[in-house]
Every structure is written in structure tokens, then in C-alpha cells.
Symmetry: C2
Subunit: 332 residues, 2 copies
Amino acid sequence: MKKATIHDICDLTGLSSGTVSKYLNGGAIKEKNRILLADAIQKLNYHVDEYARGLITNKTKTVGILVSRLDNLFYSRMIFDIEEQLYRKGYATIIKESSYDIQKEQKSISWFISHRVDALIIFPISDRREDYKLLEEVDVPVIFLDNYVEGVDRDFILTNNEQISYEVTDCVIKKGHRHIAIIVDGNNAYTSNCRLKGFKRAFDDNNIGEENAKIYKINQSIDYAYKVGKEILSEKKVTAIFAANYISTVGCVYLLNELNISVPKTISIVGFDDIMITSLYRPKLTIVNQPMAEIAQKTVERLFELLAEPSLKKQVFILNSKLVHGQTIATI
Amino acid sequence: MKKATIHDICDLTGLSSGTVSKYLNGGAIKEKNRILLADAIQKLNYHVDEYARGLITNKTKTVGILVSRLDNLFYSRMIFDIEEQLYRKGYATIIKESSYDIQKEQKSISWFISHRVDALIIFPISDRREDYKLLEEVDVPVIFLDNYVEGVDRDFILTNNEQISYEVTDCVIKKGHRHIAIIVDGNNAYTSNCRLKGFKRAFDDNNIGEENAKIYKINQSIDYAYKVGKEILSEKKVTAIFAANYISTVGCVYLLNELNISVPKTISIVGFDDIMITSLYRPKLTIVNQPMAEIAQKTVERLFELLAEPSLKKQVFILNSKLVHGQTIATI
DNA sequence: TACCAAATATGAAACGATTCATTTTTTTCT
DNA sequence: AGAAAAAAATGAATCGTTTCATATTTGGTA
């Protein structure tokens, strides 16, 4: 049994392909024929072939999302929000992941272009302009999230990483801590650097030598974060940990739970991105929250602006994170 | 600047479309021409138009996944595993979600068919055969996960829900509990019923009247689970809760944390699907684990069997869950 | 050099929809 | 009823690939 096409409908109804097409796309059809067509479509179990349609219309009503890791709740939650909004507007979402593999990221971008997505949302994993060269000659709207890439003339939606990191660190210092460790992502170049910068600036502004600022870089694995956390705990002087991304926050909380470490008596901790953390873990973590819903909202909003007017001047949007106080910073 | 096509490559190289196509698909080409083509493709920033290709080859190298909720970690984790394996085999994954809306589920199935996915993976939300009628006349391989639909002649991959639920309940009863509450999903008809059946059978086998078995149905919202949990706590007689899916487990743990309830002294609890639960929450939860990696593995394996031989006789696979003991069942 | 088989290259037809200039049918008005 | 205007239907051309039967080139051998 072969898939039914428009021609089969023509044969069955005696109407022409143009009329069938008009029906499928909601044009004006005589009532008699409308019924005829509805019946035929039902009878033949007809489905539009979007590949044939896309070929000629040059629109696919499809948005690609390229994410580094799907099993990172920070990303998947945001994607969930974005998908939901796109669906409402009649767009389908195609999700692919790069797994922090630049080769795979490029293959995915290429795949998306070949599949003619109408727009592309990327959580970039590289900070080198040439890794996104592929996109330069392509006139698909692209929005980058979570990370900046110097020299790429596209839209970016970011959060005030340096500022919030400064705020966290300053707060910890003000509570009397002098030896503080920060855990950042080694891959996530630009964003990590911002968080580091804010961290260091707080040391400077409080006149504390930067040699007291212990910096740890991890890759995007909870296990690795766990190990690094252990290493930090063995550093006797350190009294506070700033887990400056979601993965390291989860890793540290696992660790503290596992070793039954009394928080904040033994060690103080601040986390990043509260997704199921403060609800599950006690004491309640002091944690930075990036405005995920807002980011999703802004992304979709901007996406449609770009779809309507692709030549809009590129912009960088910076949204504000919030520090939510729990009970995990001790006052010394 | 228009998108480059094969014809542009022909013009630039002086070769024919057939040759270009052969090159793109890895055929034998003279070295001289191979270089010529590589250069031209680079220069023109050419990308294959998969819509044109798909139209004629009738293959899209694409698998659709239709999931009820993406922000349910039990599903998203499994999808992550499946996506990973499909990627390795050169297939792209398109994810859509139904949000427990049957209309949306059907629209998505229709979308997938129109977009000619080579295969389809569905986490069904209905247990009525006619809700999947769309698929009957379609010769795309389909695998259903997590839930059975009576009368649908397709492959299913499930877990031993009744058996494991029996095991849990029996264990709780053996520890002296007589009044036990179970929370199941009201939507998730077949699977929930299995879990309920096992629950009740344990009561019967232990000669405890079923009036002691308190049954609570929730929809797929953590907040609702939280509320139901509260209601259960107010039932003075109940000494143990069996949160028989991931959402209700999370909801209950939130609640117990929030109210600072001493577990298992005040109440005993068993959960379902340990994703970030036992690592974050103390005391360590006694919890049922479905073999997520195995399910993903089996799904992909079966998918490729069906792709190779679509007329294979349909099967129902049942994998085994495991009860992992923690410290949340009190002995009375 | 001439011949032949193997290796490459050619290009028209096909895939299944939409488009749009043209034709046919229906409606409205006198 | 007949003419004009409006509405609906027609169908050939088109989108950018792959396919495959045919034609051309290559290079080894007599």
C-alpha cells in the first residue's frame, strides 16, 4: 500500500491539484467539494508530505535548538519553556545536542541548515568565532543563549554573570570569610570568565589578596564536580564554596549529603540555578537563580522579531539573575 | 544572496548534476574533479537541501519522539539516552511533547507522519485504541514506551509494574504496616492500574482488608502530588506512603522536607524512579528503579530491527525494575 | 597504434507539493 | 433571460535533489 498523494485525491474526487492544495491551505472551496475532499482525505488516510511542501514554499515552520547537554536540567527546563511557546505559534522544535564536542556541534549546525530550519537557537560551547563560521553565509536567524562568542554578529541573550558573582562573593566576604573556593566550568569560556571576574573583583574591592581566591575548573560532569568538591574540603583554610554553575552545585550537594557534612558549620556554600535543589536538600541552599522563564520568553520574542525582519541590527540582551538567601552561609 | 544549489556547483565546475550528486553521496569520482567539487562547495557555502533529497529518496534519517512531558526527568533522561544512540547511527531525533493533551498528541503524530520520520517512539497518554487510529494505515515503525494500549498492534516496551508494586507493598506490610497509601497517576491508565493491582494483591495475600489500602490519584503535577501528600499526612491511621511514580515521589519529598517531618519515624515512604532523589534527600529513600538505560537500549535495538524488517511480528517487552532499600521504611 | 573493458560522467525524468495566469462556473443585477 | 462581476477550479511550471540508462573517457594490452 503506497502513501497517498494529492494526485490520488484528484483521481478520487475528480478535482484538480490546485483545488486540493487550496483546500489543504484553507482557501475558498465550494461546500460540495469541501465535503468531497474531506471524505477522500479520510478514506485515503492522506497526510501532506512536508518535504514536497517545504521544497517549494521554502518555509519549514521549524526551529532548531542546539544544546550542549540535554540532561542538564538548567538547559532542559529552558528548552521546555521555549518549545511550549513555539508550539503555540505553530512551530515545531527540533532538538539536537552537542555533548560538548565541537565537531558534533558543527555537524549539528550543518544538519539544521540542510534541514532548512526557519531559525536556530544555540547554546554555544566554544568561544572561538571561527567555530561558527558556518553560520556567516547563511541567512537564517540565530539566537545564542547562555554564552557569548566574541566577533559573532548575532543576537545573544545572557545574564549579568559578573555582577551576580560579585554580589555573591561580596556577601560571603562580608560575613567574614577570607578563604573562598569557586568552581566554574572549564568549557563554558565566556560565561565562566565573567563569573570569575566578578569573584575576583569582590576580593579586590574588599582588599583581600587574590591568593585567597581558590579557583577550580570542572568539565560538565557531576562526578567531576563531586571530586573537586572533595579536594576543596581537604583544603583546610577554605571556609566557603561558591559552586558557580548548576552541575557543580548538584555535585557539591551530593557530596555534602554523602559525607554528612554539617552545613554551614563545617563549610558554607552558595549554589547556582535552583532546579529541584532547595526543595530537596536541607538546609536550604543560598543560591543564584537565573531568570529561566524570562530567558525563554525573550528568546521566543526576539526569534519572531527576526523572522519578521531578518536584517534587524544584532543585539546582546542581558537579563538579571537573583541571589536567593537560604541558610548555608555561616557568619564568622 | 541566494542559497547555492547543485546547479550552481555545475556551473562553477562544468560537471553535471549526476556527478555532483555522486560526489555528495560518496561515489567514485576522479581525483581532479573531487578537488574541483570540494572547492566549489566551500566557495559557494553549499549545503544539501534535505527537503529536496528527502522528497526523492523517501528516507529522512529522522526518528520522532513523542513524550508526555519533557520536564519529567524520568522521561528526559531516557530520551537523552535514546537520542545519543540514534545519533551514533546517523539518525536525527525530533522531540515533541503532548503535555497530556490528547489533541496535541494526535496533532504531533500527524506532524511526524507528514514530516516522514523513519520511525516513531511514543510515550502514550491514552489507553484508548482509537486515539492511535491515525497510525493504523501508516507503515512507519512505531514503538510505544512506558504504557500499554489494548488493541494496538505495535511494539511496546514496559516494565514489570504489577510485580514490583507487589514486592514493595509486601515488604512494607511485612514490616508491620497495616494502613498504607499509594499515589498513582490518574492519566497513566494502564501502568497505573498495574501498580494498583500489585498493591492490592499484596493486601489480599497478606489477608489485610483492602479498606486499609488508601488510593490517591494525581495528575502529572508536582504541586498536586504535594497537596495529596499533605492530605495523606492528615489521615492519622496511615503509617506508610507508596509514591508510585516519579512526580509523586518528588512531590512527597518536597513536602516532607518543607514540613520537617521525621522519616521514617512519623511516616514511612517508598518512591519510584531515583533521579537525583537519593543523592539529594536524607534519609536515603527506599525506591523502585526502572531500568532506564536498558529501556533506551532495547528501544533503539528494536527500532533498528523494525527499520530493517518492518513486517516483524509485534511484541511486548517487559523489563525488570529493582527495589533499592534505603532507610525510609520503619519497622513497627 | 588500435582495441577493449572498466571507470566515470551525463542529463532527462521523477519525487509531491504550491503557484498563478487562465478558464469555467456561479451569482447578481437589470 | 442575459450580461457582467465575482467566485472557484484548472493545470503546467516549479522547487532541488537522486536515479539510471546511456555516453564518454581512461589506461592497460596486443
